[in-house]
């Protein structure tokens, strides 16, 4: 479960609630200004480009490239302790103006490098993910679909 430091009451009042709701429906949606079309990420209440408060949530394909990565050897998060060592990737989304998302890397790691293409998979809410639906990422080796 999300703990109290994540809560505004209710959770649906968070500015990024549409992002989490969409993930739960198997869609990646990133905030974008309706007026000037600037991608706004992480989500907030105001477009930093034009000052508009009219912000939408277009769907984006969950594909991108590795912007950076880190391999955790210590159980920094108890719910991930059984996965140690695990790799998180910071993924840049070309389809969303270069917005970057964090996520667990699954599958083979041999081609892990900055710039490597990755594809996301939708995962249902779990205790491990503080009760939130998430994307995990796998290196896209081109020979697979």
């Amino acid at each position: 479960m999300a703990t109290e430091r994540d809560q505004v009451h209710p959770f649906e009042a968070r500015v990024d609630a549409p992002y989490w709701a969409a993930l739960g429906e198997g869609q990646l949606r990133i905030q974008r200004c309706v007026r000037c079309l600037r991608w706004c990420w992480p989500a907030d209440w105001r477009c930093p480009g034009c000052g508009s408060y009219d912000l939408g949530w277009p769907e984006v394909e969950p594909v991108g490239t590795v912007y950076s990565w880190v391999r955790s050897h210590l159980p920094f998060v108890a719910a991930y302790a059984d996965l140690v060592p695990y790799v998180d990737v910071l993924v840049e989304l070309p389809g969303a103006g270069g917005a970057r998302l964090l996520g667990l890397l699954t599958g083979p790691e041999d081609a892990l490098a900055i710039g490597a293409p990755v594809r996301g998979s939708f995962q249902p809410p779990a205790d491990r993910t503080i009760g939130l639906p998430v994307l995990t990422w796998a290196l896209d080796r081109g020979d697979e679909k």
Partner: protein, 395 residues
């Protein structure tokens, strides 16, 4: 132009660096003792301190200290918001603002953390940082976020690993001569560094600071009054905090430029206002929560570029008394003890008063860098001379 300096440090106090959770004193007591020590050195009554500044979620707010200190009048109390240790030299900028504007006359800048009595300060510091976008993916520690940024520094920007190692080895080398340093007995050989326990690739054990229980305080006053109080006033030439980007702030790893330290903006301001530059700096106290960020800081401060980092950042260059760019002369955050950067400011004052365990011969200026590679960072520049002239450029 800010010269001549209008503000000076007249005293400092620093507790021992206790292993986290083992301070024999409560956090506020530890801090009060550090403030007393600083006041004694300054030759003032602690009750005359009229300004209080800290940073990054410190729990000891100024008004709470006035009771036990017997403060005669409280005139200034402020906290640098955000950025954890990024505000460490920013707190010095607050003291400067208070004194130059006449809001306060005697300002103490301080930091205290004692897990044994007040819980983990780092928890408070990171509380707002690691939200759902991190924790849902198994990230909840500075080592992991700084690991991501450091990996890009190495793999994409081309910073050699040797630069990180040199920073760690110079820090431990200085600690070896510093009787109170937590790393005084650690001989950090190449082998020990290279084969150390992996924390969060690319971060290994000796790339990583470990938080201590400690408190430190520095008393600032006007340069005019400092000259009356102290035979060795250390002048604050300038201090600044902030950041600039195309995108900056707490942005869940979406800040831009990603591996720039946020030192560029405050550095530009202090160089412009003092008319000085990197060539005028004799010693640097870098913020080394991990070894990647200080490399980024040195680039943004103008001491090297990404391309020259490997040749400039060598062990020989970084150690006192012979190196051209001595850093962290007490051992710093890695090897003296970690107090979110406050130990670096204390060592800057110590060094310029001639009291460092690793003296830099003839040192006239010392720069303190606070909390780079985060959404906010800070810089302070100290000197033994209230009005040092820039060195002629040789090239």
């Amino acid at each position: 132009m800010n010269r001549p300096a209008q503000v000076a440090a007249v005293g400092y106090g620093c507790s021992p660096f206790y292993k986290r959770g083992t301070s024999p004193h409560a956090e506020r007591k530890l801090l009060l003792m550090a403030i007393d020590e600083a006041a004694r050195m300054a030759g003032i009554d602690a009750a005359d301190i009229d300004g209080f500044v800290s940073y990054g979620a410190d729990q000891q707010d100024g008004p709470r200290l006035t009771g036990p200190l017997g403060t005669k009048e409280l005139r200034w109390s402020s906290l640098v918001w955000g950025g954890g240790g990024g505000g460490s030299a920013g707190a010095i900028a607050h003291a400067q603002a208070a004194i130059v504007s006449g809001q306060a006359e005697t300002v103490v800048v301080y930091r205290a953390t004692a897990e044994s009595s007040s819980g983990r300060l780092s928890s408070a510091v990171i509380q707002g940082v690691f939200g759902a976008q991190y924790r849902a993916h198994g990230i909840d520690a500075p080592a992991q976020a700084l690991g991501l940024r450091t990996q890009r520094l190495l793999e994409h920007d081309g910073i050699p690993r040797s630069a990180l190692r040199a920073i760690a080895q110079a820090s431990y080398h200085h600690a070896n001569n510093t009787p109170w340093a937590i790393g005084r007995d650690v001989r950090l050989t190449d082998e020990a560094y290279d084969h150390a326990r992996r924390i969060a690739d690319p971060v290994r054990l000796f790339d990583s600071s470990r938080e201590n229980d400690a408190a430190a305080a520095i008393v600032f006053t006007s340069a005019e009054r400092a000259a009356e109080l102290s035979a060795t006033p250390v002048y604050l030439l300038d201090a600044a905090h902030g950041a600039r980007g195309p995108r900056w702030g707490e942005l869940d790893e979406n800040h831009e430029p990603y591996t720039a330290s946020s030192q560029a903006a405050p550095a530009h301001r202090i160089w412009t206002r003092t008319g000085l530059g990197p060539a005028d700096v004799d010693v640097v106290q870098l913020y080394v929560n991990f070894t990647g960020p200080p490399v980024s800081a040195l680039i943004d401060l103008g001491f090297c570029t990404a391309a020259t980092a490997g040749e400039v950042l060598t062990f020989d260059n970084l150690v006192a008394p012979t190196g051209r760019l001595p850093i962290n002369t007490s051992g710093g955050d890695l090897a003296e003890g970690f107090l979110h950067g406050m130990g670096n400011a204390v060592e800057a004052i110590r060094q310029l008063r001639g009291e460092s365990a690793n003296p830099v011969p003839g040192a006239r200026t010392c720069l303190v860098s606070g909390g780079p590679l985060s959404e906010l960072s800070s810089v302070a520049l100290f000197s033994t001379d209230p009005d040092p002239r820039p060195r002629p450029t040789t090239s």
